[in-house]
Symmetry: C2
Subunit: 485 residues, 2 copies
């Protein structure tokens, strides 16, 4: 990395791991954004120094309030700006004078509102360039990093749950959707490395953030909500660098005529034809989600598991109907229901009752105890015609010993390399059992359909990686040929 | 109804509202099906008389155990049979002699297991015909009717949650999937009128059950899981009678080659080409669900709301991104994003801030309080270009007063006829708010995509009803023409 890039990456890192934060617009006023951010930052136990700033002075949650950042003597890593739009230029100027190099402008009222707002946004950009400040926003929800204990989300804590620490970085162009996604992840018990809402992307764009998360050791997968990207070429060339290192999964809206019209009035994104995005995503190996649910279903699998080396999927189930549904879905999603080898079928016959199905889907029957699951799983996983396995557990069955099942399956699954996802359909009890498997980084879903989507992502990412490898090795070959000349 | 049909319907009613039940194979033995059924029936507070029957005699949960139904003096409305397969013919013979007219054979080991089992099943059928007993099963999970307080499901209560009373009848060919569906409905807080798993459908078929639920006053919508139907023509002619009265929504698997192969080995269903099923479903106005989730998303909307009279959908949202996603989904699902009338746009301009979008999707902005929702909803619902409305509530917004929102929206929505579905994306807090709306029979979903699927079902059912109406009026016209001749 060049020195310039290193400095930039450092300033992005300050968004997620600042040692000191100035909250400009901090307040104790009920219902104010300044209050919610102060509450959230205190609640999460931010380990650094907090400097509330407000023109009115006084104190805020027991902390001294500064009238301007220029009054603060110590260094400030990050300024969070929540003052009215028209005051923002002046505040950013102060940040520049103070030597602050990273800022989040949460305030709205800029390019998203029309011509006047666009001018105001350009003014801020000029000031930020003058002082070399990297700015996130404006018009954004903020940043959340549970590991670094930084929570700069402006929604009040009693209305906004947030996920536990984990491996998924989440980038959202939409602030409101970002809030919803965090709440959704918390409910589904899916962990996050960092969340960032980047709003108008005046300075820091989705591509800059991709670059940062590609190097972030806590992030295994990058999930994104976008309506459009700031600069298609830069985004593509960044994706080309990131995807070989870690998967990118995108929920891109504005796909239809109606959606594109709505996107243009929402974020001003010229959504462009969906075909162009689709082609680009395919070319660079960016994975796509069709729905909110699919985004997290796929991100979880990509965060936990190695990609699949092929598309032939095995199924082990104690419910025949679930086996039928899963077979349908595998074929509908352009994966293959694996043809088991004759050896495997013989080996299954020795451990399954005569009424069980030893062909794929392997139906071990409703009265299957844990041992039958373990035996069947071991045999199907060892088949060289199987690239990935979906295990379906109908947990209502009285025959299943849950503890033995988890212990036995985890042992076999984690001792080998093929990806295994689990579907435990049902409600409360199913969810509880799913969490047991996920403690061992085996993703478990509430429907067979979700399990197939998860497997699809692992197959597609595997394919993308192989394509990159081939390209690189042909590049190497070209070099050799050149040398020979 | 003919006298014969009345008697048959009466015997089906005995499955769901028996006054006395003999549990043949009742037991206190831990892990036994006989114990689970006794526990479930006692737990739900069955108001009728329970007669445990077991060849071993003795007592069961404090009740006297009879060695045979023939020992019981009182009349028995329903026999539940859970003895080993080979004993079933003899037990059914006893039931016949006792004058029992309705039975559920839960035991497995019949036609689903091969030639021997097929013979055994035929023997039972002959006995049942001889005595005029209507039999559900064999190889089924049982029956659940929370209003009639009848629970004959053999899964132990600590592994199987069950839904509250409601308007959806659920019919499942698969027992294990049935168990899962009940658990799923309980978790999602979706109410049920009755659940029935009909297994091998030796005597009582899905068509008989459709006929029963068409007349059941507690059922507003019939949801089904099937891999194939027993007799396509009978099913079609039954659907033709039922659909004009209440909607049927089906999750049919065995759609693909892989799925059809799996179905044939699971229930022996010759799944037939999916095109044939699709064409028949379309012709008779049977709605289809692609996934488990979709089955219940659609069933809930159909249970609560009138069908839509057209496909032009309005959107009101406090999240711009959610508006874009919803517009996409409406178009992808072949519905239309309604073009609002000029009057409506003008009327919206008077109540929305200048930065709001007064075109569809109507974006009332992230800082919208309850009143803005109510004002916008009233205006969009009154537009004659709008056939149905999706309201999206991003609940994390600090500006929303929940109580006022629910009160205001319920008042407006329930005072008119157009269907309105709500999407409240998020987690715990979103779910809680959704339940508030559902108390007033306004269906509320956790993603905008689910809300669109729900609306799609209402549009499709409306279309099916109009088609039936046209057909009938043309039939009337034909008659008149005939008379004239």
């Amino acid at each position: 990395m060049s020195r310039m890039l290193q400095i930039q990456a450092h300033h992005l890192r300050n968004l997620f791991y600042p040692k000191s934060v100035a909250i400009i617009g901090a307040s104790e006023k009920k219902g104010s954004l300044g209050r919610a951010i102060m509450e959230n930052l205190l609640k999460i136990g931010f380990p650094g120094k907090i400097y509330p700033v407000n023109i009115k002075g006084n104190s805020c949650f027991g902390l001294k309030v500064y009238k301007s950042v220029l009054e603060i003597r110590e260094d400030i890593d990050l300024a969070v700006i929540i003052v009215p739009a028209k005051v923002v230029p002046e505040v950013v100027e102060d940040c520049g004078k103070k030597g602050i190099k990273s800022a989040i402008v949460i305030s709205a009222g800029f390019s998203e509102t029309g011509e006047e707002g666009k001018k105001l946004e350009k003014r801020i950009l000029r000031i930020s360039k003058k002082y070399g400040i990297r700015i996130l926003g404006p018009n954004c929800l903020g940043v959340y990093n549970p590991k670094g204990r930084i929570d700069l989300i402006f929604n009040p804590p009693d209305r906004q749950d947030k996920p536990k620490p984990g491996d998924i970085a989440l980038l959202s162009q939409s602030g409101a959707f970002g809030a919803t996604f965090l709440d959704f992840m918390a409910e589904e018990d899916i962990g996050i490395s960092s969340f960032v809402s980047y709003g108008n992307a005046m300075d820091i764009t989705e591509s800059d953030l991709l670059e940062y998360f590609a190097e972030d050791p806590d992030t295994n997968v990058i999930a994104m909500y976008i309506e459009g990207v700031k600069n298609g070429r830069i985004f593509a060339s960044m994706a080309e660098k990131v995807v070989p290192k870690k998967p990118i999964i995108v929920l891109k809206t504005g796909r239809t005529n109606s959606g594109a019209r709505a996107a243009s009035s929402h974020t001003g994104s010229l959504a462009g034809s969906d075909q162009i995005y689709s082609a680009a995503f395919k070319q660079y190996g960016i994975l796509r989600a069709e729905t909110i649910n699919e985004l997290f279903v796929k991100a979880k699998a990509l965060a936990f598991l190695n990609p699949a080396t092929g598309d032939r999927i095995g199924i082990v189930t104690n419910g025949g109907g679930a086996g039928v549904l899963t077979s349908d879905f595998i074929e509908l999603k352009n994966l293959k229901v694996a043809d088991l080898g004759e050896d495997t079928i013989k080996r299954l016959e020795t451990v399954l009752p005569p009424q069980a199905s030893t062909h794929n889907p392997v139906d071990i029957l409703g009265d299957a105890p844990a041992k039958r699951y373990v035996d069947a799983t071991e045999r199907v996983l060892n088949d060289k015609n199987v690239d990935g396995l979906i295990i379906i557990i109908v947990p209502q069955s009285p025959a299943l010993e849950y503890n033995e099942l988890v212990k036995g399956l985890v042992h076999i699954i984690n001792a080998q390399d093929k990806p295994v996802v689990i579907a435990i359909p049902g409600g409360r009890i199913a969810k509880k059992l799913a969490r047991e498997f996920e403690r061992y980084r085996i993703p478990a879903y509430r429907t067979p359909e979700d399990a197939v989507l998860a497997m699809k992502a692992l197959v597609e990412y595997g394919k993308a990686l192989r394509k990159y490898k081939e390209k690189n090795s042909s590049a190497v070959i070209q070099k050799i040929v050149v040398k020979k000349q």
